[in-house]
Homo-oligomer: 342 residues x 3
Amino acid sequence: MQTKTLKELAEYVGATIQGDPNAVITSVAAIEIAKQGQITFISNKKYIPQLHTTKASAVITNIKEPCSTNLLIIDDPYYAFMQIVVLMHGHRKHKNCGISPKASIDKTARIGKNCNIYDHAFISENVTIGDNCTIYPGAFVGPGTTVGNDCILYANAVVYDDCIVGDRVIIQAGGVVGQDGFGFATHKGVHHKIPQIGKAIIEDDVEIGSCAVIERGTISDTVIGKGTKVGDMVAIGHGTVVGPYCLLVPQVGISGSATLGHHCVIAGQAGIVGHIKIGNLVTIGAQAGVINNVPDGSTIVGAPAIDAGQAKRAYPLISTLPEMRKALKSIEKRLNKLEGNE
Amino acid sequence: MQTKTLKELAEYVGATIQGDPNAVITSVAAIEIAKQGQITFISNKKYIPQLHTTKASAVITNIKEPCSTNLLIIDDPYYAFMQIVVLMHGHRKHKNCGISPKASIDKTARIGKNCNIYDHAFISENVTIGDNCTIYPGAFVGPGTTVGNDCILYANAVVYDDCIVGDRVIIQAGGVVGQDGFGFATHKGVHHKIPQIGKAIIEDDVEIGSCAVIERGTISDTVIGKGTKVGDMVAIGHGTVVGPYCLLVPQVGISGSATLGHHCVIAGQAGIVGHIKIGNLVTIGAQAGVINNVPDGSTIVGAPAIDAGQAKRAYPLISTLPEMRKALKSIEKRLNKLEGNE
Amino acid sequence: MQTKTLKELAEYVGATIQGDPNAVITSVAAIEIAKQGQITFISNKKYIPQLHTTKASAVITNIKEPCSTNLLIIDDPYYAFMQIVVLMHGHRKHKNCGISPKASIDKTARIGKNCNIYDHAFISENVTIGDNCTIYPGAFVGPGTTVGNDCILYANAVVYDDCIVGDRVIIQAGGVVGQDGFGFATHKGVHHKIPQIGKAIIEDDVEIGSCAVIERGTISDTVIGKGTKVGDMVAIGHGTVVGPYCLLVPQVGISGSATLGHHCVIAGQAGIVGHIKIGNLVTIGAQAGVINNVPDGSTIVGAPAIDAGQAKRAYPLISTLPEMRKALKSIEKRLNKLEGNE
């Protein structure tokens, strides 16, 4: 186990100490359950009271508050927290199993250096896997697909044929990349399957959640841009291009042939119809239904999705519809009276 | 095949017979398709007409209705129906395959008595599996995880490392427990992965549906309480604590760090934002969007979710908005006239 | 690679040529990126400007427009496009691997002619698989299940026990058929599992998307009708019967015991409650919430779902609620004045 003094941690992340620089930190915990020897964080003022009750030995925060707990004060406490979790706990360690003889690896596949390929993983013909990759049991890589360096495919993750996966890509268990798009030509009432000849391209530093599914393109490629994080159970349609550094929260659905700019945040269960263009730095609320192009920098909410400020005033008024209706009826009665029609 | 008389079944479930106690029952079927020798059930008055037309030899019901069909009358017919299905058909039988030599079981794993572990299942280092468990092909149990007694992991179910699974837990095919939470610290436009050092804890008697995904916690654990049933394709966020005996219907999504009390029912496709508290005995309607704390015993509906009674009056009025708007315009005209402004 | 003249393609699909019948076509591409030697298509007038800028050697279209690009003019350009993609690119080719010795096939299973069964696929006891099937790694077929001819089960697809899968069925990676329905009898606060003794029946020519999940029936069977296409991550409840030639777009959810007619189109993320009847030729909009029976030929939208024409007028007016409320208040003031109450 790593042990650090608060002084060491402050220097590591560039924070100011309020309290005892010699406090000893051995691990990280949530503020409610943190014990002596643990460090935690808050970044929201509503948690200030917990500064006075926590048993943590230190709290990372951007809030200056006189308290008996030691503080590590820094502008971006969540980022500092991340750095300290990585420092003290590290990312998941994978068993150094090398290439298991029980994995199935086609003789035409090229596997880089220092890879772990577990039992029952399946690497098809003409696949290229980079260096330092870990491929868990049941993971499948289809013919002709290229996977970069330092990738992790967790148990039962699937990448279909002829796809391109960049460096440092993580696919959680059950995630699927490059399955056939939902593309059918309906003729005389019968749906005819259109071969999906586009690829799925997953750029560097993308993470794909469990049971998230990224369709390959019909004729143009589906792309998930560099550094974008795709939550569990997100569905991306064929030919959709998601820009870099987006966050797609679990259960989001994006239909085919849509384009998203960079740094978009799409909250849980939101849906985006196909063939539209979402600009850069767009924020879309949970369960929103987006049916039109969205300009850069917009924040939209609701189904149908509208400007967030407007939505926050409008959607809660749905609950007042019965009283509005009643008011209207009463007004009409009074008007009739005034007009002498009653 | 089991064969029982109506009398035997009545005694087994504690029901009263209306009709022939010697009627012979060989199996269970739906009321529309039940034939002679079969028993079925109704618990809703709208199905009373079917009592007079069904070919079933008996119907379990809480409704006293003179009819030519034999009735098993009991307060909770659905529970009696369940008991009789279990009696006559039983739960799924698993092939007694023992521990397959084609399963991969780390030498440090401890496996209880009477387990079935099929080909291509993967049990990692330092795993503990209890007695009488069945692990289907392609299922994966990560390092350090503990699984209790009498559990079933269906094909390709995945439990990540260091999780805790109680007794009598069922994970349907493709269900995932303990994958990394959607946790990133965004700094200068780049999303940095936060190691997810919390566990996922699945308590006794939980069932998890196909392609349902339960994230592990970032720093505090994700918990699914005893006896809770999680439907297919439900997504649970990191650090969320679901109380005991909840029903989470398919496609529900709950963000991270939420807490739910006991005996909550969350209907299909509903979404709950993170960091809120849902009380005990709360019912949430299908597709609801829950963004605030919910007190014990509430029934809420809609997006945004409001009290169900209010919602049932309000939401349908959305369809009257065009006529309300028209009425408003007409009223303004009439007012203008009355005021002499026209 | 296939090479065809425009004349050959026109004859193949029955189209009229506008331009050079001797133009040589080697592949298919999207209109924005098509190069010389490639054919593309448009079926929507808004893409007419692209006819004048595309570098494609030909465009399949139903729009007669004077332009320098060669056109293949035909009534149903999308169908012709599909035919040409199949002609020139073909459907995915599967490695002719035969029956791998590393697949697990119970000795009681009957496997048809010309099947490919990959490593780590698992075929249980008493399974019947037809001719020309391809079963990818990690796919699982449960005891007693029948799979027809010409089926494809992609990596990690799962079909539970005693199900029936027709001919030419495709299950994409991670799709699950026949898992237990979400059926519990709640008695004194405890949810008791009801054995799900119905089957799941997948008729001919059905395609099931990645991580789509089709529950088996509680006592009557779940059915997906002939030629119906089920998108990624669609959830179908126990005992629901979907008619033939429906399109269920990704993330749709249908609860148990619902029935759908033929040729229904259910758009993304829509939800349908259980025990209702959707007619034939019904179209349901994205994110709709359907809680009542729907007559044949309806088009409905919204949550709660209403007639689409009405919904398109009504739902956007939600955003005007604040101004309607304000107008009401102002009207009441004016009325009070007129009535002499102020």
